[in-house]
Symmetry: C2
Subunit: 198 residues, 2 copies
DNA sequence: TCCATTTTATGACTTAAATCATGAAAAACT
DNA sequence: AGTTTTTCATGATTTAAGTCATAAAATGGA
């Protein structure tokens, strides 16, 4: 998103997180801008019964957690490192200064937020009113479009576990497993030693 | 959002829509910026079985449908007038010019998108993994916070039909009716001749 | 290399919400 | 005012996804 050199000019510091570390937690007050240098971060919630819902998964060069920063609300979800990750962090004040002094960044932020809102809109409609197979397939197609899934001979390798797909679509693992099997039978995707291709 | 006078400087024209009229449809290419002068607009999808999902409801002074405009994607949902409405419209090009020449507007847009993303995040987690009563109550509380629901002696009047609540939460009308009844029994809200107060 | 954990898998069963049916009350047209 | 449509309401039934149990394969640490 924003050039690391520019972030460093505004006091950016790089922090290391181990797999599973929380970067911030639901209910915290937003005080920083976060951008991934390397690694992978998920934003998630846990409901009353402890079931996880993954809001999104973020990769290299992506930022996360800005919306609450702009509207002065508490974080609606946790941010957790999925693998060991390096994250560059600047304070809210410096970030707003940076925006003010670099008007072309605003458009970048707008586009980024728009992209995420688009994803949420598509998935909201899916989650609320489509059958499991439809939901899984939509998530897969959207992820191919937006994430850096590798194209191999068999198709795009879907780099999610069944559990992650469940947590992203609000389905249980078993249901995801059954949906994927059924989608394979219909020829909508391939399973080659447990990995899913589309 | 944006001053009407400023929109008019950039060629804004006011269009009238009757209740039920489509302003744009899912799959259309985004070519304009829309802002409500008066009336009420919903954005919705229909799934394969014809069930409606309401992405959001927008009121006076609010804009809608910008995300796809910024990222050059087709509209992911329809926009429909819920009651007779006046909408001011400017072309995409003029809108981008306006943004370029009025940098303070960018921050407004960012805040607006952030607010909507925040709503989507909260509701996504709710819809995917909470029981109906929880979902209904969350929608109601969020709507009180964000929309202009009137405070009366009995509490805030929830200005939604049961059907609308269902379409916003992905539940069926009957389920919403039962959830609301149950919530009333628990004392979480009041029903006074069919109207819901919180 | 070995052991613990995670991931994928499948069958049996349970359950909560959807569906279906029906009707009264209220709202919106004509 | 009268008629149509929408909204709210409730009971009975169905069903799809969740839950539970169990296990093999793969992965990841120690």
């Amino acid at each position: 998103m924003i050039a690391v050199s520019l972030l460093e000019e505004y006091g950016g510091i790089i922090k290391n997180y181990k797999s599973g570390d929380f970067i911030f937690e639901e209910g915290n007050r937003p005080l920083h801008y976060y951008q991934i240098i390397s690694g992978e971060v998920k934003m998630n919630n846990y409901n009353d019964e402890g079931k996880e819902f993954i809001q999104g998964i973020f990769y290299k060069n992506q930022c996360f957690g800005e919306p609450p920063l702009f509207i002065d609300q508490m974080y609606p979800a946790n941010a957790v490192a999925v693998i060991d990750s390096e994250i560059i962090i600047i304070t809210k004040d410096k970030f707003l200064d940076l925006l003010k002094n670099n008007s072309e960044i605003s458009l970048k932020i707008i586009k980024n937020l728009s992209q995420r809102l688009y994803y949420k809109s598509v998935m909201a409609a899916e989650i609320s009113s489509q059958d499991p197979e439809h939901r899984v397939l939509r998530l897969i197609d959207y992820s191919i479009e937006q994430l850096n899934f590798k194209k191999e001979e068999a198709g795009f390798l879907i780099n999610f576990t069944r559990q992650q797909i469940g947590d992203l679509t609000g389905l249980r693992v078993e249901t995801v497993i059954r949906a994927i099997k059924s989608l394979e039978k219909k020829g909508d995707l391939k399973i080659i030693n447990r990995k899913v291709y589309r």
